[in-house]
Symmetry: C2
Amino acid sequence: MVPKPAPDVTRRSEKSRRAIYAAALSLVAEVGYPKTTVEGIAARAGVGKQTIYRWWSSKADVLLEAFLDLADQTARPAGPETAGPETAGIPDTGDLAADLKAVLRATVDELLDPRFDAPARALTAEGVVNEQLGRVFVARLLEPQLQLYVARLRSAQDAGHVRRDVDPRIALELFVSPLAQRWLQHTGPITHDYTDTLVDYALYGLAPR
Amino acid sequence: MVPKPAPDVTRRSEKSRRAIYAAALSLVAEVGYPKTTVEGIAARAGVGKQTIYRWWSSKADVLLEAFLDLADQTARPAGPETAGPETAGIPDTGDLAADLKAVLRATVDELLDPRFDAPARALTAEGVVNEQLGRVFVARLLEPQLQLYVARLRSAQDAGHVRRDVDPRIALELFVSPLAQRWLQHTGPITHDYTDTLVDYALYGLAPR
C-alpha cells in the first residue's frame, strides 16, 4: 500500500504506521466506531492527520488494516514461527478432528486476548447495525479465515473423512458460529473443552450411530 | 407489573403501554441504545415521562419488556393461534429433525421481519460492547428460548434419538448459532433451506456413517 521509499524513510514510516495502528485500535475500543475520527487517531498516534490521509482514505480503511495487522500479531493456529492464518492455512495432518480442534483452541486464545477482544467487539458491534461497514469487514477479515476451513473440509472430503454431499461453507459454521456467538453475546464460557466438544458433535452428529 | 386497576383505567393503561413499547422499539432502532432516553420514548409515545417511571425504572427495563412483548407478537413456531414460544415450547411430534426444522423456519421468518430486525440489532449491538446489558438481555430474552431446545433435545434423548452423552445446551448451538451469526454479521443468506441443512448436518454429522 506504501510505495517503496528510501530505507530511512521506510523506518520512519514503519514506526508511524505502527503508532497509527495502535492508536486506531485503542481508540475504537474506548469510544466505539462512530466516535472514532481520523483526527482522534492522528492526535493519539502523535502524527498529523495529513500523514494518515497520505496512506488511507478513511477511518474504516485505517481500522481495516490495523485489524489485518493485529490478526497477524496475535494467536496463530500453526504457532508463532509461521505466517498468520491468512496465509498459512489450517494444518492437514490427516486427522480432521485434531486439526480443527487445534485451530479452534488457538482462536479461543485469540478471543480471550484483551488486545484483540476490545477493538474487535467495537467493530463487530458497529457492523451489526451498519450493514455496509459490516459487509466490508466480513469480506476482508472474516471470510478469508472461513475459507481456510472450507479448504480443510474439502481436503477431508477427498480423503473420505467428510461426506461428499456436505457443503463445506455451511458445515464450518457448526463449530465456528457457536464460538462466535458465545464470544459476542456472552451466552456461555469459552474454553478449549468447549470447542473440542463442538468439533466432536459436528463431525459425528448428535444422533446415535 | 401493573397492579389491577378499575376497567377504564386498565384500557387507558393498556393503550399507553402499547404506545410506549412501540416508541421504545422504533427509537432504539433509529438512534441506537446509547442515544435512546426515557424522555425521548415518552415524547414519541405522547405520554409524560412520569408515566414511564411509574411502571419502569430505566430505559433498559422498558426495552426489555417491549422486546418480550414483541417476541409474543411476531412469528410463533406453533402457529398464531397458540401462545408464544416462551410458553409453548417446541412441538414434540416424535420426529426431532422435523420439529427443529419447523421452529428454525419460524425463527428465520422472525429475523427477516423488519419489526423485529431493526430494534433487535440495535440492542444486540449494544450488548456486544456493554457486557452488563448484554448479560441481562441474554438471561431474560435469549436463554429462555434456548432452554426450549434443551427440553426438546432431552426428550429426544429419552426417545433414543440423541446420544445420552451429548450435552443439550451445547448441542443446540450447532443449529442456533450459525443462524444467529449470519443474521448479525451478514455472513450469508438466511433461508429455510439453510436452516434445514443445519439440522441435518447437526443430527447426522459431517463424517460418513
